[in-house]
């Protein structure tokens, strides 16, 4: 296993400790509940925004805690939803008279943990709102599945909600806003390689030298199908077609375009991908008004990327543009 790791069981806590040491003035780390929270949260005048999910998707979500984004993240272990306890205790620590908002990626484990945590927190008198993110078009919805997965689109939901919460928006309005952003966000990802969970020590799945996995999940779940490795342009075109035709995004739409790296793909390649995606959208008459190129929601060290499109309006654009102060920064 080619990783920076000591005891794999300490992987997540040691990462969280690093985040805390790097941001002593702004963040607080609560080891008991795997919790990273704003040092100045909760605030009486602001809904507390909480996101939990498995680890291994960094910077989501522990590195986007800060003014203008999350008030807290309570991750589980690598690829495992947090235990219900963490959700409950995080919610209690973040309790605000204006309420606590749970942003949840649509996976069985995450939903169960947050359902149970919510039930118990409400029993203690805490007001809770819930937004479910399910932007992944790779998974065809059907009556018998749990619905689509939540992937990189969660960035937009969190960013918009975070900005609105900072301006004092009420819990119900934030829930409505989150649902609205989720409803106009679509993502599909693909893997060039597998990823290696520290505790497993070997790749999660095998992908041949000449293969790629289209529609892969951010936990290494298999996608739509395995295909022969293709050129960057062909890959982009296939992802874009799947994403754009889903909402669908139409000629004349203003959009945000995100090229998200899955952890092992260098940013040089992401910009190459961006160039193709931008040009193809322009050719379709879709206007790229904002763009995001980098890592937002990863899958450990997986080489691959996802494309996200979000249909923009004035309000959403201004929320996305608003400043934020998070550990994940350049300077």
């Amino acid at each position: 296993m080619k990783k920076f790791v000591n005891d794999p069981k300490d992987f997540v806590p040691e990462m969280l400790r690093g985040i805390a040491l790097a941001n002593p003035a702004t963040l607080r780390y609560v080891p008991e509940y795997n919790l990273i929270m704003r040092a100045d949260a909760p605030s009486e005048n602001k809904v507390s925004i909480v996101q939990g999910s498995g680890s291994g998707h960094e910077p989501a979500h522990v590195m986007i805690v800060g003014k203008g984004m999350l008030d807290a993240a309570c991750p589980g272990d690598v690829f495992s939803a947090p235990p219900m306890d963490y959700v409950l205790e995080t919610t209690k620590l973040l309790n605000s008279p204006k309420g606590v908002l749970h942003i949840i990626n649509n996976y069985t484990g995450d939903r169960m943990a947050f359902d149970m945590g919510r039930e118990m927190a409400e029993a203690e008198g805490i007001r809770i709102g819930t937004v479910i993110v399910d932007d992944d078009v790779a998974v065809k919805d059907s009556t018998w599945t749990v619905g689509r997965r939540g992937v990189a689109g969660n960035f937009f939901v969190i960013k918009a909600i975070g900005a609105a919460a900072e301006k004092g928006a009420e819990l119900d309005d934030l829930v409505a806003l989150g649902n609205r952003v989720n409803a106009v966000s679509r993502t599909m990802g693909m893997a060039l390689t597998s990823c290696t969970p520290p505790a497993k020590g070997s790749p999660l799945f095998d992908l041949g030298d000449d293969e790629m996995e289209m529609g892969v999940g951010i936990h290494g779940e298999p996608g739509r199908r395995r295909e022969k490795l293709a050129s960057a342009n062909e890959i982009v075109d296939e992802l874009l077609e799947a994403v754009a035709s889903d909402l669908p995004f139409k000629k004349g739409d203003d959009v945000a375009l995100m090229v998200n790296g899955l952890g092992g793909t260098p940013i040089s390649e992401l910009y190459l991908v961006y160039g193709r995606a931008h040009a193809q959208l322009t050719a379709r008459g879709i206007n790229v008004r904002r763009n995001y190129v980098g890592e937002y929601c990863t899958s450990l060290d997986m080489a691959g990327c996802s494309l996200t499109l979000v249909r923009l309006d004035e309000e959403l654009s201004s929320l996305l543009e608003a400043p934020a102060e998070i550990p994940n920064r350049i300077f």
Binding site: G54, S80, P83, D85, T108, A113, T145, F205
Partner: protein
């Protein structure tokens, strides 16, 4: 004073815990096929604490004991397994009552655990989950006990049913859990949770005082 019939419950829990810890890697490998490879890791993290705190667990009665186990599982196990297995222990505790625990009581507790899993998971037999090993095995257990078999041989027979049912999940299409996202591609490999249940039953059969 410890409740009568308690030994059986202790044996079940201890065997489950030891099996989870011993099979961490195997269970995770099974989950890696169409899942995300953490099933064994998640279970082991909870059950290793059950083992580590074994002697100190409150044994006032079966319900209390099981509730302690449930709390450890819900507070330490993440993923889908934490809520599911935690709920199962919690419901079993609720069904334990405070009277003597005989075959009927044990079956009632198992049924309560199953109902809890179904409710929590919004799932049922046929969805390709651990229920597809657990439910047939408990059905079999009930049948054998009703037919007058002794506990040891009933458990052994139930373990065989659990194993066969778990292997049988290979041909099923996953409708719940992470594997469900893969649709048709979930066919061809068994469900990790179902195999986990089968291995636990087998270990239990081996451990049951005959």
């Amino acid at each position: 004073m410890a409740q009568e019939g308690f030994d059986g419950i202790e044996l079940v829990v201890r065997t489950m815990a030891q099996t989870a810890v011993d099979n961490e890697t195997y269970f995770s490998e099974l989950d890696a096929v169409v899942g995300d490879g953490d099933f064994g890791y998640s279970l082991a993290r909870g059950f290793e604490i059950v083992l580590a705190t074994w002697d100190d667990l409150d044994r006032s009665d079966a319900a209390t004991f099981l509730r302690k186990v449930a709390v450890i599982i819900t507070s330490r196990v993440g993923g889908t397994s934490g809520p599911l297995w935690g709920t199962a222990f919690m419901r079993a505790a609720a069904a334990a009552g405070s009277d003597r625990i005989g075959a009927a009581e044990a079956l009632a507790m198992l049924r309560a655990a199953i109902t809890g899993i179904k409710e929590r998971g919004q799932s049922d037999v046929g969805d390709k989950t651990l229920l597809d090993a657990l439910v047939p095995a408990v059905d079999a257990l009930e049948g054998y006990l009703a037919a007058g078999q002794g506990a040891a041989s009933a458990v052994t027979a139930a373990a065989k049913v659990a194993r066969a049912s778990a292997e049988g999940t290979s041909s099923m299409l996953a409708k719940r859990g992470r594997a469900a996202y893969t649709g048709e591609r979930s066919i061809g490999s068994p469900d990790a949770g179902a195999i986990g249940v089968a291995v636990m039953f087998e270990q239990l059969a081996g451990a049951w005082p005959g």
